[in-house]
Symmetry: C2
Subunit: 154 residues, 2 copies
Amino acid sequence: MPKKTLRVSKIKEGTVIDHITGGHALDVVKILGITGRTNGVVTVAMNVPSKGLKFKDIVKVEGRKLASDEVDKIALLAPRATINIIHNYKVVEKQRVKLPSVIRDIVKCANPACISNSNEPVQSTFYVDREEPLLLKCHYCGYVMEKQDVLKQF
Amino acid sequence: MPKKTLRVSKIKEGTVIDHITGGHALDVVKILGITGRTNGVVTVAMNVPSKGLKFKDIVKVEGRKLASDEVDKIALLAPRATINIIHNYKVVEKQRVKLPSVIRDIVKCANPACISNSNEPVQSTFYVDREEPLLLKCHYCGYVMEKQDVLKQF
């Protein structure tokens, strides 16, 4: 058995989310709404040794493209992930997720007293204080959210 | 690319949990305490077409054997699973999980008023009313637990 064998095999059609920070594949699976009760083959590899990242996770979703809000959410939790669209076993599109410095409308402030949680017409807005592990600072109330606070909302 | 390619590649050392009822791999991952923050390579395939089960899930845990209480818990959620111990890429031990008709000490009764939840020295005991989807009936109070009630405890 050669050492370079892929842990998870190639897929014919679908999306490969690669270079997920080691240990975050299950978060990505959650973002994609994959409970296992959903249809379609999904393969996951966790803690795979990787050159750039030391350890990385990979998620392969057969027969499905990701929606842009799903990509935005993945960027929050795995800011170095790459998203490859596969057609007939070939990568036809490659995309790196990008965490913008300002996050709007993807997550809600965890501070219930924040004005963005009132009935005011206010768009939730956060500044990225730190990419990894994630720290988001609310524009309105200054509340600092960690990754776990964000993950709870997905 | 031949059609019969394994979705998840062979492992050198560890445990393969195969024939998990389609959609339950993430439950098994939870039972094994795999959060992704744990060490060791874990690969998961969900909803793979299968002869016997229509769709099955597979979990491969590298460099680890399962404890007997982990096997008992897997039996509750995936009663048709097989557990293969792998050494040097070969199956050296094969075991089918078995759901006994009486379950003791693995789960607690979800009824807070049940005597098994008091300070009395009472061993939690359930009868398996249905294997799949799981229905457990408490010996003491007759409370019927579903799979979700059980899963919450793992």
